[in-house]
Amino acid sequence: MNNLRLAWILLRRDIKNGELSLLLLALIIAVTASATIGLFADRLQRTMTAQAGQFLAGDLALSGSQLLPETIPQYANTLGLQQAQTAEFSTMLMEKQQMLLVAAKAVSSHYPLRGQLKIQRDNQEQISEQGPLVGEAWVDGRVLNALQIQLGDKIQLGEHWLTVSAQLNYEPDKAGDFYAFLPRVMFNWQDLAATEVIQPGSRVSYAYQFNGSEAVIKQFRELVQHQLPPGQKILDIYQDRPELGTAFRRAERYLGLSSVLVMVLAGVAIAMAAQRYSERHYDAVALLRCLGCRQDRVMMLFALQILMLGGLSCLLGCAFGWLGHNYLLYLLAALMANPLSEPSLSALVIAWASGMLLLLGFALPPLLRLRQVSAVRVLRRDWLPTPISVYLVYGLALGILTVLVAQYSRDHLMTLQLLAGIVVAYGLLSFLIALILKAMQAGIQYLGLSTRLAFKSLLQQQQLTLAQILAFTLTLSAMLLSYSVRNDLILNWQQQLPENTPNYFVINVLPDSKQAFADSLQQAGIQTNTFYPVVRGRLLTINQQTVTQRVSKESQGEAATQRELSLTTVPNLPEDNRIVAGEAWPPDTSGLVSVEQKLADNLGIKVGDVLGFSIGGAQLEVRVSSLRSLQWDTLKPNFYMIFSPGTIEQFPTTWMTSFYLPLAQKQLLNSWHSQFPALSLLDVGQWVEQIKGLLRQLTAAIDYLLCFALVAGVCVLLTSIAASLDQRLYQGALLRTLGASRALLLRIQNLEFALLGGVSGLLAVGIAELVRFIVYQKLLQLDFGLIWQYWLVLPSLATLIVVLAARWGLRPVLKYSPLRVFRQG
């Protein structure tokens, strides 16, 4: 108890004297970041788990372009599972001479098995546990506005009339696919046959939902997954609702790793602050030992202080993190489900524990030196405790990092890869910095006094210099990478699109309407891209091997083999398609196909391979004549598979193209719907705006999180400046004693920190550009271009920031009286 009270007294005194300000700040930043991200990710995960079923409208869902074989629903019956089904297709609604392309969805009586529908009647929103009754239809607001109808009016869907009985506001399993762009109409399954809309060859998306206990669902899944016909699959929230599943998982992982970055930087700041704290207590500890305090009691006193300090600052960090995560939720509101699950206490506990772990891991080695301080130091102030083993220092740091990264990545392979990357990056950077310092040493004799003294100051404490440069470089490169990727993804993409970039895609143009439609566009003065013939088919085999055996999970290849592809044929490949392997086909040669390069890589397709397709029930084999690269961001039609002329002409074909429709000519859409009822017009301009909005939100969130990294980086900067303050005060006073002016001292200081900032800035640009190159080539498939402005701006900015911070942090050096040189004795 005596120890606790004494430790508390000493701690309060040190805090009051400002001895622990930077250490406190670094720890609070680290825990705040960890708590912010931890709470956010926790709520995300809990929401996903709680509402996963709702997003699929059932515990398990199957979907496909065909009706399920009867055996499967019968088997579900025998297992006692609840069942529901839906059929979704695009069609024309007709009302008062108006026509409108809609996404129509027929739902069976138990739909939705999970989640709820939200409808509106008499301006009041209501929850509904089931879909519309027979003879009724629910439509969304766009239908009401476009057709100028009200509740109670009748609409004709195909050959059947339905009464509009409510406005549809929300359906739990509305996916982010093609149908999501269209106005919605929901009606009863029993009315489906009467509409006569679905004919052989119609494009329909069927979904079957099943509910039951976990064990029974699992049993059912195990049976059906091997019995599903081609074109049918089991829906998984992470794959089939990517806007919810994979994206969230990746976002969670990214956020977690951002938190690790902040903690690493904070750890460096904590280590430096603890080092200074320790050094400034050597005299006090020597005196305590001289007065009879035992070694273990000395350690107990400091350990208690650190634990109290850590405990309190981590609590404060958790409180700030609570506030911080709410702001993050606000930034990402559009991505969030509603309602969001309440956070659990475990996220806060983990953040608190991470902070304590960080403190102990990075502050422990310097504090252990206090244990070795001998009483002889009261007589000989030059006596110093022996340095702690380098293995202990780095081993602890690496150990802490491993725990943190593993916790946030939840992926052993990724943890190993990241740690390996960190070790390699640290080694490489250290080597580069050592080379730079050696070069400085070699050339130092040729430099003027102030430059030489500045260099000497850096060279004198190489470990400190190394730590400073590493920390600044890490912070700056992370921020630059985020900025440049964000710019390239959003701004350049939008800025580089020509003025009349297509904002509409038109598909399902029937062969006998094609010419008339093209003429109509021409008469309206609208320039179109090429009309492409489209045939729907599915890739089944590669060199007689089924494709499912060649794909890896979650790859682009897997997605392409799970559904029908739009196949086309042209005499010559489109202009912006570039052959990267093989050759263009000779004229009048059928039976050849050109494959998109990335898909080919994912599926292991090479030139000369034989691909087997299923098209309209018939089988077709073709040989790969070339691989192509595409430009996906031009908003022109792009195809994974392009066949040589004469290969697929025998199959039923529709046509597609894209064009730019000015706002002033939007009324043409209605007349086209009337003239050409079968065609489907997709407003991709709206989709582009939605994506841009989403990306803006994500980048705002990323920027917010990077602020933590920036503050942590500033902490490192200030701590490293403070770590050398005593030595600089002495040096400054001595130089002034020998006749140096304040201007000279300032010049030396500015040069030293300009060098620090400049080197860090240059290294940061190098690393950021290298990582950007890898990310663009391997992950994003974007063109990489060197940005020379970065090489100018960032080092200059870094130099300015570091010099100004040093000016502020080292103010006492210029004011320190030279007289103190005498008094130090």
């Binding site: 001595l734 002034r736 004693t737 020998l738 006749g739 140096a740 201007a743 040189v821 130090q824 004795g825």
Partner: protein, 230 residues
Amino acid sequence: MKPFLKQSFQEELIITENLGKRVSTHEGDLDILSGIQLKLGAGDSLAIVGESGSGKSTLLGLLAGLDLPTQGRVLIAGQDLSRMNEDQRAELRNLWVGFVFQSFQLLPALTALENVMLPLELRADRHAQEKASHLLERVGLAHRLQHQARQLSGGEQQRVALARAFVTQPAILFADEPTGNLDSKTGARITELLFELNQEQATTLILVTHDARLAGLCQRQLQLEAGRQI
């Protein structure tokens, strides 16, 4: 020609007039020094002696222009230090003054040669290296030019400090307990070197010391007791 030379300093290089230093403490004002009257000519040597806390280091600081008095004034070569700003006093120190400290006060990042060159470089002397090498040779450290301060023994460090103090051929040399951190044998050698160099350069020497033998080597002694001259 050294600047600030207003009158012949053959007789009165340093003059103090009723010099005093008062500081504020929790218990009120405290006179660390008061009524110090002093005149020193070129080539004179003065030992300031007294018990601990008698104000010796404070007086040295005032005489060297490292601190400003609260009463009276200090004139060096006719220049009133109180009328100078800090940079002017620094320049004066660089041109006129040399220092030797008890704990050597070398810059650890610099070699022995660089430490001695430093005051010359501060005045942009082109022959700094040559002069510094010569002086280090003079103090017997020709073989240690490129060694850093921490690689030198206490006696060697003090010899480097002596070389640094004399390399600018100062008019005045201040020494604060120059042998305080040395064993008696090394201290004796340092004392010998100090006075040899002082004689060679005809420097005015002001020495603070507890060592009676060292004090006895000076021409004059100024005894301080509780901040007053006795």
